[in-house]
């Protein structure tokens, strides 16, 4: 029996650590020196290696649990001894080790193909009381179902919007004067400005659930990156730094030089490059599964997604984006396909992929940039991200707060927009 | 020890047997006329068991019965009107029409009660005997059950527990030869089920179930034994079911010869013959006529009685708000 402890694992200045991730399950074989558990010491992650070879017999500290330095995180046992132990002596298995058999009631179908609006009973009742037409509402939930918060958000917007002006949600787009980047304004008319930078192959529409969840809590600017959505293909060879320059220019053109940045995936890398450049004053930075924190990325996804021209070839890649496969309904696939129907757009993105992710590798690295930033920082990652490994969140310096969202894949802002919105607003608040 | 009925008691047993017989015959007619609901399980030919075995009991003693319990009800002191009205689903029935003929119960008379789960009367009486023993009383609990019920597991369990704890219970096995349509010989390898008593150290006796006096004597001995705290006894009363399993029984499986032989030994005839010298034919016939008239009047009154109105039973509601 050998205890896995936090002594000598970078914890000497700390009184306690928090377990971030177990890389082994009880019963798994481990070799001495192999990574078994990651702990967080005052916001810096530390990887702890197995002190001996054997079987991980026991996990004493669960993910999220705080444990004092010197405390026992787990136990490695001799496999032969494990087999010989009577059942009574075995430690009780902890919940997280067991197969997830808890099922929840299935969420209603997201496809409203029959024209019926999906809404919770409470949302229906309140909407009826307030004479609000449910079909005018957007669901903020991944379930696609209109909930109470959507009714409340709609009502709040209706009350605030001056009569002479159309609702913000429906306001005509402002074209940027910069490098022809397409910007869309949403949310409140004033207040803190949140700039949202989408991921590779996406566009500003991908923020819709998050925008709904944010409601009127901030003024939101959605950017279509070069070669995406309604923004033109970049001039010259695309690069993350080049994109950052385009975004800075577009924001300057709108008089926006003091913003809170949110970037997803490729957009996260662009946000980091923008922060590095100092071209714009950045109040806070929230990164969702960002690019630029390590070399790995699912290259097959990047290529396959960029090139897909049919539902059959697009669907498997879309499935890889999400933890919850039920999001990828036929309707979702066809809508995505429609948005990507332009061959020029697909070619541009293919070219972009080759430039930014050559040979399926992330060529640009911002980890040191991140460590130098002095603004409130949050890194949010879906526990089940299959595109960029969540462990890229580690080794990002002492200041970044890490949030791993259970039940989410590479699209946490779609799969859990409420939590993501709450975390973004926390970050915004921390900057004030 | 008193274990023989007086002449007065024998006349009363005769009267009650005629009450039961008339009730069964009238119920048969009413069923054919469509005035009853559901099946009715008649006990024609078995009256001597129910009436003879209960004749020595006090009101505070308990009787548990079966789906074929009219003789047990009448024997233990229930009135014919309350029984008939219950069977006809009337408000004036013993249970206000909620129970029906298989499940009549009247706690004040110690009839608790009819039971249509075959065998369930046996642990029911055993539990009452346990209650009596814990409280320290001298009452007894008596269960009626048939040769079909004797094949249930709870029969064996109950006899074992009753004997182990010397509970004041009397097991009256009303052996009428049939479990629904299946003859006893196809249900058990032994003809005399009372031999099983030996397996539980329970004194057992076989009696002629068509002779009310014989039933009385054997049961009275068992009752006295129970009151003295000496534990349970088993009385196997051999009798015969004359009218099929129920009014819905198509029949055809009971032999004509058997029926004729048992009809010749009808318990009312046996009782009449044994009393006629001591009491006189005239008096006995008068008793019988009065009994018939009592039943007829009770049934007429029951047919006139109001039907019950439905009310939700709050005490079994699943939410605390209803309490």
């Amino acid at each position: 029996m050998t205890d896995i402890t936090v002594v000598g694992a970078g914890g000497e200045y700390m009184e306690s650590v928090v377990v971030v991730e177990w890389h082994k399950k009880p019963g798994d074989m481990v070799a001495a020196g192999e990574l078994v558990v990651t702990v967080e010491t005052a916001k810096a992650a530390t990887e702890i290696e197995a002190p001996a070879s054997g079987v991980l017999a026991e996990v004493r500290a669960e993910v999220g649990q705080e444990i004092e330095v010197g405390g026992v995180l787990g136990v490695i046992a001799d496999p032969a001894a494990m087999a010989a132990r009577p059942a009574e002596d075995k430690p009780a298995a902890k919940p997280s080790e067991t197969a997830a058999v808890a099922e929840t009631s299935p969420v209603a179908t997201r496809s409203a193909s029959n024209g019926r609006v999906l809404a919770s009973p409470l949302a229906r009742r309140i909407a009826a009381q307030k004479s609000i037409d449910l079909s005018a509402l957007t669901a903020s939930s991944a379930s696609g179902r209109i909930k109470l918060r959507d009714v409340e958000a709609y009502e709040a917007r209706s009350e605030k919007a001056p009569a002479a002006q159309p609702p913000l949600a429906a306001r005509p787009t402002d074209r940027s004067s910069g490098d022809s980047l397409h910007l869309t304004r949403r949310g409140a008319a004033n207040g803190n400005t949140l700039v949202l930078l989408h991921g590779f192959g996406a566009d500003s529409l991908s923020w819709q659930p998050l925008v709904a969840a944010l409601g009127d809590s901030a003024s939101i600017v959605l950017v279509d990156l070069p070669g995406h959505g309604r923004s033109a293909k970049p001039n010259g060879r695309p690069s993350i730094h080049g994109f950052a320059g385009n975004v800075a220019e577009a924001l300057h053109g709108q008089g926006l030089d003091d913003v809170h940045l949110v970037g997803h995936s490729l957009g996260g890398g662009v946000a980091l490059a923008l922060a590095e450049s100092g071209a714009i004053a950045i109040r806070s930075l929230t990164l969702l599964a960002p690019a630029g924190l390590g070399p790995e990325i699912d290259g097959a996804f990047v290529q396959g997604y960029a090139r897909a021209t049919r539902a059959d070839s697009l669907r498997p890649w879309l499935l890889r984006l999400f933890a919850d496969a039920s999001i990828v309904t036929p309707g979702f696939v066809s809508t995505t396909l429609k948005a990507r129907s332009s061959a020029a757009l697909r070619d541009a993105q293919d070219e972009l992929a080759d430039a930014i992710f050559p040979d399926g590798t992330q060529a640009t690295e911002f980890r040191e940039v991140l460590k130098r930033l002095a603004v409130p920082l949050k890194i949010i990652w879906g526990e089940q991200d299959r595109i960029i490994p969540k462990r890229h969140a580690m080794h990002t310096g002492a200041a970044a707060a890490l949030h791993f969202l259970p039940g989410a894949g590479h699209m946490p802002h779609v799969e859990d927009p409420v939590t993501v919105a709450r975390l973004i607003l926390q970050n915004v608040k921390a900057a004030l | 020890m008193k274990n023989s009925p007086s002449t007065t008691e024998r006349i009363e047993m005769h009267r009650k047997m005629v009450l039961v017989r008339r009730l069964e015959e009238r119920l048969g007619e009413l069923h054919k006329a469509g005035k009853t609901r559901g099946p009715i399980h008649r006990c024609d030919g078995q009256e001597a068991v129910g009436v003879g075995a209960t004749a020595m009991l006090a009101t505070s003693d308990y009787v548990t019965s079966t789906h074929r319990g009219h003789a047990h009800y009448v024997g233990k002191g229930l009135g014919v009107h309350g029984i008939a009205a219950e069977i006809l689903g009337r408000e004036t029935g013993y249970c206000g029409g909620r129970a029906g003929h298989m499940l009549i119960g009247e706690k004040a008379s110690g009839v608790i009660g009819g039971n249509a789960i075959v065998g369930a009367s046996i642990p029911a009486a055993t539990g009452m005997a346990l209650s009596i023993q814990v409280r320290g009383g001298s009452d007894v609990a008596m269960c009626f059950f048939g040769d079909g019920a004797a094949q249930t597991g709870i029969c064996h369990e109950s006899m074992n527990i009753a004997a182990l704890w010397k509970l004041p219970v009397v097991f009256v096995l009303e052996h009428n030869q049939y479990g629904l349509t299946v003859h006893h010989s196809v249900q058990s390898p032994v003809a005399d089920l009372s031999i099983r008593g030996a397996g539980y150290a329970i004194p057992s006796e076989i009696v002629d179930g068509n002779d009310a006096v014989a039933v009385y004597r054997a049961v009275a001995t068992a009752v006295e034994r129970a009151r003295r705290g000496e534990g349970p006894s088993l009385v196997e009363a051999k009798t015969y079911r004359m009218q099929g399993f129920s009014t819905s029984d198509m029949g055809g499986y009971q032999g004509e010869e058997d029926l004729a032989a048992w009809a010749a030994r009808d318990p009312i005839k046996v009782s009449f013959a044994s009393l006629v010298d001591a009491v006189g034919q005239e008096r006995l016939e008068q008793v019988e006529q009065e009994a018939v008239a009592e039943v007829d009047a009770a049934i007429e009154a029951a047919l006139e009685a109001p039907l019950p109105t439905f009310a939700v039973f709050e005490k079994t509601a699943p939410y605390a708000e209803s309490f």
């Binding site: 058999v101 808890a102 929840t104 859990d416 | 206000g96 909620r98 055993t126 182990l164 699943p318």
Partner: protein, 324 residues
Amino acid sequence: MAKLRYAEALNQALREEMQRDPSVFLFGEDIARYGGVFKVTRGLMDEFGEGRVRDTPISEQTLAAMAVTAAMTGTRPILEIMYADFMPLVLDALINQASIYEYLWNDVSMPFVLRTQGGGGAGAGAQHSKSLDSLVAHIPGLKVVAPVTPADAKGLLKTAIRDSQPVIFLEHKLLYNLRDDVPDDPDFTVEIGKARTVCEGADISIFATSRMVLESHKAAELLAADGISAEVIDLRSLRPLDLSAIKTSIAKTHHAVVVNEGWRFCGYAAELSATIMDHAFDDLDGPVARVTLPDMPVPYSEPLEMAVLPNAAKIADAARATLR
């Protein structure tokens, strides 16, 4: 107030009620001389004698039927059925006997208590690990309680013994060693039909029974780390159910998770879910989530058994899913 184990709290309740009322008596397998396989009845035969604390033959079906009629005739029997898995043996007594007489017959009461214990987690295998709550909670005329704290164990058992209706008292084998404050006051009782709020919350209500209350409380802590405020309600009384507590909580949180260690299909959690739909539909802002045992036997080997048992992580996952 003393710190007592759950089993000791039950023992104290039995002792106090037997001292208070001579018509209370106990019977069951191994309960008298040995003191019960879970030691709940320890020492009671010595104090009250063999007449009131009885070891029985292994005859559950008859014992339960006897409890019904003994209760109808002037005593207050308390029957121990060693494992909830044996409850199918006593169902005739409950379904065809106990449940009907109060309605059918005049002036009948049935003040008996049937104590049993269920649940998994102890490696007892497929015939000794079940939670068959729905089997008994299904039956009109019975009350069904499942305390999780030692204080509730004592208070509810005393109330159950004094009740005029049959009470099925569901214990859990993993709760007997739980130690907590228990009032000494012999008049301390806990009302049947009242739920207990374990912790208050604003975002989601978790309604749980028996040991699942403890797991739900842990789940609330996991959810708190995600910024989700969960309210945990220990139903305590499975029948009659504290409907107003359920409605009040859902009116506040608009989301519900129901947790029961029994099977899912036609299970107790299914009833809770349907009850919520019947009575709180228009307050729901998301689907009711159910966390239960899967519809299969409870396996023996530890990783297999742990895989089927509901736990805090599964409950938290269900809560997150329904909030999504």
